[in-house]
Amino acid sequence: MQLTIWTYEGPPHVGAMRIAASMKDLHYVLHAPQGDTYADLLFTMIERRKSRPPVTYSTFQARDLGSDTAEIFKRTCRDAVERFKPQAVLVGASCTAELIQDDPGGLAKTLELGIPVIPLELPSYQKKENWGAAETFYQLVRGFAGGRTPEPKEEGAPKSCNILGPTSLGFRNRDDIVEVKKLLAALGVEVNVCAPLGASPADLTRLPNADFNIVLYPEIADTAARWLEREFKQPSVRTVPIGIGATQEFIREVADLAGVDPALALPLEAEEERFSWYSRSIDSNYLTGKRVFIYGDATHAVAAARVAEKELGFKVCGLGTYSREFARDVRAAAKEYGVEPLITDDHLEIEDAIIAAQPELVLGTQMERHVAKRLRIPCAVISSPIHVQDFPARYSPQMGFEGANVLFDSWVHPLTMGLEEHLLTMFRDDFEFRDDAQASHLAAIGGGAESAAPMEEVEEAPAEEKPVVEGELSWANDAEKELKKIPFFVRGKARRNTEAFAAQQGLALITVETLYDAKAHFAR
């Protein structure tokens, strides 16, 4: 039994719902009690979907248990197929129905519905949302593409690929598809099928016709792509084109598989890409070495770390994910950036890690946004689980060249701007620049009750005026006062460094001199 306050992923049947809701002409009949219909609002409210997701629930009640829950499921399934007339139907159980073991797959088969039935076995007490989505997508791909022979291609016909992985409720997937298609068009590569988002079961039967697959979002598409690799010898492009370097690598990989010149994408790059110049322009100098804490699903976390460290000149001071299935990728990246990987979905542990890392920017999910808001650290959201704000009205991809431009804006704008930062440091006692005053451009975001607990509260720093005794060490009043002039987000570190330095030097009293000696000692 695990105590959970907030979760990063829903149960696996919600993952299956995301696949069903992504596709056309597919329906999901879910054996579930009343109340499980809450999941509909993820789609209708968060994504502002205009139609109900294609899911029908059996809604059994306590009084049905042990008598006719199986009959209720059969009736629900038959009625749903009759009403919605899908090409195929997914059937499965939510956590409660899993316990009563009615076997929705077996029951649906007895109904002779006249359409393919894909039974889903999603163990609710072991697995989570992304796994459920990946498994559902794999079962669909296998069910519809299995046993097909690729159609022969004309000599000299352009190469084609499948785009695998974008889903409903995926982070910016809607716009990422457009960017990726732009890159493919520039290279003269045709898109055979894009799935699950926008595909029908019939479209899945055409998957084998492509020359290769693009695994846009491994959390969802990896299982299916590996099966397609084995079954149809379709190679996979696994670089996720988030950031400039990754986008260029993606172009080279695609060009290589398609046998075309990667330079075909150069005009697009020249026309659209502003990130590199913005990052090199002098205003961006102040970005150098900014400490950034990154947490999200594995794909977005690893991509963000690369962009942050190698393309914006930040310093990654924390990297973590809730995607245990892809923990290896995150561990490898963490090693590269010299930080401890944080593989957990315990939000309290992540909050502690953020506090300990003392970042100047947090890139995370909505949950880390709340933490950062409380600690008054600038933050940008880079990953699911998502919020209605993560479906902006404007075009806002993460992938490709335009995606990189979006990353620049959305990660850099929350930061204190160059000159403003200098002024804050120089005139720390200005009444408007106090530690507890929000940077002017953040006024709309900050304030209110949620920012009531500033960073200092979590420091071990005690009250003003009286000298502080810590073991043998104590701080002189003027040193303590001088310490307060250091920006709060690095103050804890400065305190620790100074104390370590003083201990090393065998000093008992920390003076202003000691503080600056320590600063010189630890200068980077």
Binding site: Y38, L41, K50, T96
Partner: protein, 429 residues
């Protein structure tokens, strides 16, 4: 059932002969009540014993993480618990220990049963007894079920209040007659009612749930109680088992509802009519005045209510009587005859009434009736709006202060806003 049958059923149903439906219920389960209960009772923690689905529901329904660390959480049952590799009671005890160690401010821990815990027959009543031996009297442990197989949305509060009533101390026989107002309301509304009761000379008033778990009122044959929420059928049974006597009235929604409700209390406590009129006069006047602003938007408008909180009959009565709206169908997840009768007494027999739900059929009925405003849950709102239909989220009816004179205008405004907004917008779907 074919289409013509559906239509005749919708037209043919009435308060006396409601349409009873069983199919897909597009409603929340009882766990969702925790979203307001944990704000209402500020020293209680609600620990759901359930699945990842329960945790996900709570965070989705609560509008994705509005509170940094809320006073609710989920003990998620895992495979090893089900496989018998771990003793579930030991596991629960250790979760509770960790939780209480983290939250010394918590004075009452409420174990909340869910669908999975009910299906595997995990006995949370016994768990609560066991935990009380360790933690009481400093911290009390209570349990109730909010499972979807037994409860719909507000029935979670019903079960919680039932558990609280069981826990209420016995009132001493010499204590004077007292009034118990039952059903969670906004604090500001409680304060307003308390002032009115005091002015009427009714001094011994308690509210259930109280704001702190330590302020639980005592109960006995001299306790008169009145419901402030209609979804409390089980609580009513328990209150009466404890000897309390019910004051019957419509719900205190709108000027008329509030007056009838207050008058029922005043009559029970022997308040003279002139005094009652003098005390309630200004509130009634303000409520009537506030309502006139919204009447123009709602008069003659046809309104269809989907089942949600069981507040629907009372809301329909308010809309019909005080804003001049026409009620097409009152859907309610459960029709408690005795509690809703005072509402239906004030509604015409032509009002369609349905109990339970078959959501696809109800949507078809609604489209066929083509109402001016649809009151429905969040899963249905945007799809209806995309069809060009005006909707009102029913969840706001349990999340906003709507009771009493000072909120009568606000209540009408909730329904007028979608309509006035449509009048303002020059963009179309």
């Amino acid at each position: 059932m074919s289409a013509p049958d559906l239509k005749s059923a919708a037209c043919g149903s009435s308060p006396a002969a409601p349409l009873r439906e069983r199919g897909q219920h597009e409603v929340f389960c009882g766990l969702t009540s925790i979203i307001w209960l944990h704000r209402k009772m500020q020293d209680a923690f609600f620990l759901i014993v359930g699945s990842r689905t329960c945790a996900h529901l709570m965070q989705s329904a609560a509008g994705v993480m509005i509170f940094a660390e809320p006073r609710f959480g989920t003990a998620i049952i895992e495979e090893r618990d089900l496989a018998g590799m771990a003793d579930m009671n030991d596991e629960l005890d250790s979760v509770v220990d960790r939780l209480l160690a983290r939250r010394p401010d918590i004075k009452m821990l409420v174990l909340v049963g869910s669908c999975p815990s009910e299906v595997i027959k995990l006995d949370l009543d016994r768990a609560a007894q066991r935990l009380n031996k360790v933690h009481a009297p400093d911290r009390r442990v209570l349990s109730y079920s909010g499972s979807g197989i037994e409860t719909t949305f507000t029935q979670g509060e019903d079960n919680f209040l039932t558990a609280l009533v069981r826990d209420m101390p016995v009132k001493s026989e010499t204590a004077p007659a007292s009034l118990l107002v039952v059903g969670a309301m906004a604090d500001v509304v409680e304060d307003q009612f308390e002032r009115i009761f005091r002015s009427l000379g009714i001094e011994n008033v308690a509210f259930l749930p109280a704001r702190r778990s330590t302020e639980l009122a005592s109960i006995g044959p001299d306790t008169r109680y009145i419901l402030a929420q209609p979804y409390l059928g089980t609580t009513v049974t328990e209150l009466e088992r404890r000897g309390a006597q019910r004051i019957e009235a419509p719900m205190p929604l709108g000027e008329e509802g509030t007056t009838l409700w207050l008058r029922a209390v005043a009559d029970t406590f022997g308040v003279p009519a002139e005094k009652f009129d003098a005390i309630t006069g200004p509130g009634r006047e303000r409520a009537r005045k506030a309502l006139t602003h919204y009447r123009e938007h709602l008069e003659g408008r046809r309104i269809f209510l989907f089942p949600d909180s069981q507040l629907e009959p009372a809301i329909a009565r308010f809309l019909h009587r005080e804003t001049g709206a026409e009620i097409v169908e009152v859907g309610t997840p459960f029709l408690h005859r005795r509690i809703t009768q005072p509402e239906f007494d004030l509604l015409p027999d032509s009002v369609g009434v349905s109990e339970g739900q078959d959501v696809d059929k109800q949507i078809e009925r609604c489209r066929a009736a083509n109402p001016d405003l649809i009151v429905c849950g969040m899963g249905l709102g945007n799809p209806f709006e995309a069809e060009g239909r005006a909707t009102k989220w029913s969840i706001e009816l349990v999340f906003s202060p709507i009771h009493g004179y000072e909120q009568a205008g606000d209540l009408a405004e909730l329904f007028a806003r979608p309509l006035s907004r449509r009048a303002v917008l020059e963009v179309a779907v």
